[in-house]
Symmetry: C2
Subunit: 284 residues, 2 copies
């Protein structure tokens, strides 16, 4: 039932000094433990091995990480509630929420969330995260797209959860890039020149692009991002705090496991879903 895409996702980090990225993170964890437990600060110093493995343009855990979560009317709360719960708990990390008009944003099911900043007021972000939604009309509007394109072009990390990757792809920044998406929408990525990858976590360009599959995949996505950018120990600390020890009572989380009649129910509310070509308002 697990869908660990570690082996299928693209572009493993270049080795440095005989260590893989994973090894480097492990080393960093050990190196930072003293600082963490001794000083109360959750952030340690990056080891040389980590800094090397991180590669050009990458952050080390010692660098501040500024994340902008770009929300919009019709967005899905859980797409970013998982990641935000993780990111807020990471050391040296700042999470901001922004929308086209600022203020409160009415999400799917009428839930209101805020207050958000105005996207236009944010000069730059280390990471932009675009969550998905059930209505992408605003997210696909020229005004919103222009803001997302601007922030993505200036960001070290360009990320999405669920069909937020369609919003990113529509700006053009994912041209030729591998990306995840909610299973019901994933094949629409190619209509925007991105490469659909039906995995729970996908990366490209040495991790500059990172994306999660549908809705709850945001949690797995965010833990991977956390491990990558803030160190494995910080990610594990967060996982323990949010007790992420999943035990789904049914085996219906992906079309490969779901019963045909359940897939048919989704196809009924999202025509085209089983082909990965579902549509929501705002998507051509």
């Amino acid at each position: 039932m697990t869908n660990d895409s570690e082996n299928t996702s693209s572009d493993e980090q270049p080795k440095s000094g005989g260590y893989s990225r994973r090894d480097a993170l492990k080393l960093a964890s050990v190196a930072t433990l003293g600082a963490i437990v001794g000083g109360g600060a959750l952030l340690g110093r990056a080891t040389p091995a980590l800094a090397k493995a991180a590669g050009a343009g990458m952050l080390s855990p010692a660098d501040p990480l500024n994340i902008v979560i770009a929300v919009y009317p019709g967005g899905t709360l859980l797409d970013f509630a998982g990641p935000s719960e993780i990111f807020h708990r990471l050391p040296n990390t700042n999470v901001r929420y922004a929308s086209l008009d600022g203020g409160y944003v009415t999400l799917e099911f009428g839930v209101r969330y805020g207050k958000t900043e105005r996207l236009a007021d944010i000069a730059k972000a280390d990471m932009i995260l675009v969550p998905g939604g059930s209505d992408l009309t605003v997210a696909m509007s020229p005004e919103y797209q222009a803001q997302i394109r601007r922030l993505a072009e200036g960001a070290k990390y360009v990320t999405s959860v669920c069909n937020g990757s369609l919003v990113l792809a529509a700006t053009g920044v994912l041209k030729g890039k591998r990306s995840a998406c909610h299973w019901a929408f994933v094949n629409k990525l190619s209509e925007y020149g991105a490469i659909p990858v039906p995995d729970r976590f996908v990366e490209d360009d040495n991790g500059r692009f990172m994306s999660g599959g549908g809705v709850t995949a945001g949690i797995d996505f965010a833990l991977r991002v956390a491990g990558r950018l803030r160190g494995q120990q910080a990610a594990e600390f967060t996982q323990l705090l949010i007790e992420y020890d999943p035990a789904p009572p049914f085996h219906s989380g992906h079309p490969r496991d779901a019963r045909p009649e359940v897939i048919a129910m989704v196809d009924k509310v999202l025509p085209g879903a089983s082909k990965g070509l579902a549509r929501v308002p705002g998507v051509r």
Copy 2:
């Protein structure tokens, strides 16, 4: 790594006509399939077997389900964002959010959520859900406790996620009842006369009391509640829509799996956590 408490949770439904509750739900799923696929409505009619198995005071999927999620300042968004994402997608189910003063509520990390109704304005709910938080000062106040006690006493289902069970327990309604809680707080339940059970999902009194463990356990909790009250097929449909096919990159979601140094980090920010006796503001 999974922690399926199906076999350890209390009080299986009484058998009726040779069917267990689980059998009855399966039967109901088959019976409702025609209605679902044919009519576009997600709700079918309950079979006699299900109605019998449901027992006194239980709902059948044909009965409307009104859920009140009781939020408060300092609450944790993901504790209820998981359940709400599931409950909003269930047939014949209405989800309301309420707080002491109504309006917007400032959650953990300064996130604002709303608009909520006033708890005092809600006469009755079929189900009350109390999520947890990092500051329980308001949730433990006499005014808040009085509202929760009133709604819980009138509800068919009394539920919680994370240390929301401490809020419920403090009202007295969990006296002698088995309950889940975030692992770092679970043993504090006994200080309020409830029975701590360190599982991801716990029930008592034939499902009148249902509770989830910490934060992300709310997703597993809500899928079980969904299967119980709206039928397994509706739960599976929801699981597929939110692509709940977890693949944690690390094995650190519970103290039984986490590395000792990571548990020590949590003990540092939440003293007493590893004994299940962590404290947050508002909890004695």
